[in-house]
């Protein structure tokens, strides 16, 4: 009896979800791999100082050096350490992934909540906007957006040329198109939550619209939001790689997995390893994220026990 009460008392929805997630081995390994990748990227600076090298320092005398005690994965075409650049590139690629997903999610959630809750004309306008964005031919649009000259928008030349500018730019560009999937999912869930009696109950107890949206609707659509975000994250990381590969993403010398792949493309025959490392990391990351997404989907499924 006592144990029964204790386990019941601790079974908040989040604990139950975590337990279901934990049982899913593929998802759990995905999460661990993702964690390891983050740790791997964050170790860039410590490793750099430990090995006493500089990832951005070109050394034309040691181009394509094979792996050595100081350069564990060898050097690239400009004589820079491949491992440390992969680690820095991971920071950039993962940061772009998380930031663009988060930004897109914030916008998508807002649009979805408003459309689903108010319905009628609001819904029609917002959803046609969403459909419109989905219908845009992405790649040409992104290339145009990436080609916008920031100095003409009033930013200083220093900022426009900096790595930070290309980071913000790519995050914004990806967020601009990745919110649609989240908006649709949130709208659909909001439509069904809106009709539940506790929403009426909240209105009966005098809650205003904002409060109802934030306190009553949002917590009940959080599950589909998280699942959608995990799926979007995978495609965002891939997208950053595509854009950087095409030369419209992160501007060298700042490394990202995408632009390292780009640099390596003409060297594929002479130094295939330079293409394989970043390609493999992108692959592992996306697979891990997708496993986590699947696991979250199952863990949040209300029909599971």
């Amino acid at each position: 009896m006592t144990t029964a009460t204790l386990t019941r008392a601790s079974s908040s929805p989040w604990r139950l979800r975590w337990r279901r997630f934990y049982r899913n081995k593929a998802a759990l390994s995905g999460l661990i791999v993702l964690g390891l990748l983050i740790v791997f990227s964050l170790l860039a600076a410590p490793l750099e100082s430990f090995l006493e090298i500089d990832a951005n320092n070109a050394d034309l005398l040691s181009r394509f050096d094979p792996p050595s005690a100081q350069h564990w994965l060898g050097n690239d075409e400009l004589g820079r350490d491949v491992l440390v650049r992969l680690m820095y590139g991971g920071q950039v690629s993962l940061a772009v992934g998380f930031a663009a997903t988060l930004l897109g999610a914030m916008f998508g959630v807002t649009v979805g909540l408003l459309a689903g809750y108010f319905g009628g004309r609001t819904d029609a306008v917002l959803m046609r906007l969403t459909d419109g964005v989905i219908a845009l031919p992405l790649l040409p649009l992104l290339i145009i957006l990436a080609a916008i000259d920031l100095t003409k928008l009033g930013f200083s030349t220093d900022f426009a040329r900096s790595g930070a500018a290309s980071f913000y730019r790519i995050v914004l560009i990806i967020a601009l198109v990745d919110w649609t999937r989240i908006a649709r999912i949130v709208r659909a869930s909001t439509l069904s939550v809106r009709e539940r009696e506790f929403i009426l109950a909240a209105r009966v107890s005098g809650a205003g619209t904002t409060r109802i949206l934030v306190r009553n609707v949002l917590p009940n659509v959080i599950a589909p939001i998280i699942v959608a975000c995990s799926q979007v994250l995978g495609s965002v990381i891939l997208f950053e790689a595509v854009l950087s590969f095409l030369g419209f993403g992160i501007v060298p010398p700042t490394p990202s997995w995408g632009n390292m792949l780009n640099n390596a493309q003409e060297l594929v025959t002479t130094a295939p390893a330079l293409a394989i490392y970043p390609g493999l990391l992108i692959f592992i990351t996306v697979v891990a994220v997708n496993f986590v997404g699947d696991g979250l989907q199952d863990a949040f499924d209300p029909r599971a026990n």
Binding site: R8, A9, S11, S12, P13, R196, E197, F198, L200, A201, A202, R203, V204, S205, G206, A207, G208, R211, R215, N216, P219, N220, I222
Partner: protein, 337 residues
């Protein structure tokens, strides 16, 4: 605000009749207009409830009971239109703007729902849900509101309230959940509590506990209660006065004792006959044949005529008005003299 209501509170010794009504409803009508003529769901009903009294509202499903409750809270769906006057403590609610309604809801008029499972937010702890009402209406800070929520749970007889406040709705039993819903409804000490079939979803022993709790809280807080139910046995136990609704109209009004001793309207008689009696063998329970007509506002005569055993041609032609027949009793039927 709170203190002057406390001064009013010890008024139980006054004669009941002299207590001014807390809630007055006059000619309340709810229409759902549509290109095909629309539907009148509630048709000109009037009643009042005094402080500390309980009004039972009985009738079958689909006769406008719940819509009446929503109208009192200004929550008629946007496709509907409400007319008539609602007065709470002498202040008219009918012309309240959408901005002012939230101050009434939950604070002056509260509602207890039928289904305690669906009326609670599954993603929020019970204590937080009650605290929420207090933050909205009394501007309490989080910790204060939480304390009060626990107090409130204790008031409705939830054991180890501090611990239960941290529970999610799915972790509580049906009876406990309904207690929590009542705790939430009464958090701001409302003047009027509308209970919309509050015990229908509960099993019989829990029903009795919840009814007892509601009566006890009514004595403590002194609110007026509008108790909506199709369960006559429950209404006879808890209500002081009863109105019987049929097809959007009041067909009979009486004190609870009179109504159950001698129902006058054939519909009321039919409802009471359908109650099974313990200790009497019955092969078959009597029923009222047919159902509430769906487009009842088009019927020219008495709306019950189609199902009434006493109906004749005049019943079908002329609608009977609600008229006083005896001291304190009103009925809408041509056949009652």
């Amino acid at each position: 605000m709170r203190s002057d209501r406390l001064d009013e509170a010890p008024g139980q010794d006054l004669p009941r009749l002299s207590v001014p009504p807390v809630l007055e409803v006059d000619g309340l009508t709810v229409d759902f207009p549509s290109p095909h003529g629309g539907k009148r769901v509630v048709d000109g009903i009037s009643y009042s409830i005094a402080r500390g009294r309980t009004l039972g509202v009985v009738g079958e499903s689909g006769c406008g009971k719940s819509m009446t409750a929503l109208a009192l809270l200004g929550l008629v769906p946007s496709s509907g239109r409400m007319t008539g006057r609602i007065t709470l403590n002498g202040r008219s609610l009918s012309d309240l703007s959408a901005k002012d309604w939230p101050d009434v809801r939950g604070q002056r008029i509260a509602l207890v729902f039928q289904e305690p499972m669906t009326a609670l937010n599954p993603a929020m702890r019970i204590g937080d849900q009650i605290a929420e009402v207090l933050t909205i209406h009394e501007g309490l800070r989080k910790t204060e509101a939480r304390e009060r929520a626990i107090e409130q749970l204790r008031l409705v007889g939830i054991p180890s309230a501090a611990e239960r406040a941290k529970a999610y709705p799915h972790q509580l039993s049906g009876g406990m959940r309904q207690r929590a819903v009542i705790a939430m409804a009464l958090a701001c000490r409302p003047d009027v509590l509308i209970a919309d079939e509050p015990t229908t979803a509960l099993d019989v022993t829990i029903q009795a506990q919840i009814l007892e709790l509601m009566q006890q809280l009514q004595d403590e807080i002194g609110m007026a209660v509008q108790f909506i139910s199709h369960n006559l046995a429950v209404v006879s136990e808890i209500a002081d006065d009863v109105i019987v609704m049929y097809a959007g109209q009041i067909v009979e009004r009486a004190s609870s004792a009179d109504l159950f001793a001698e129902p006058l309207h054939p519909y009321t008689q039919g409802l009471i006959e359908t109650l099974p009696e313990i200790g009497r063998a019955q092969d078959e329970l009597p029923v009222i044949a047919g159902t509430v007509p769906s487009h009842y506002h088009d019927i020219p005569g008495c709306r019950f005529a189609g199902r009434c055993p006493k109906a004749d041609a005049s019943c079908r032609a002329v609608a009977p008005a609600l008229r006083p027949v005896r001291l304190g009793r009103e009925v809408a039927c041509h056949k009652v003299s």
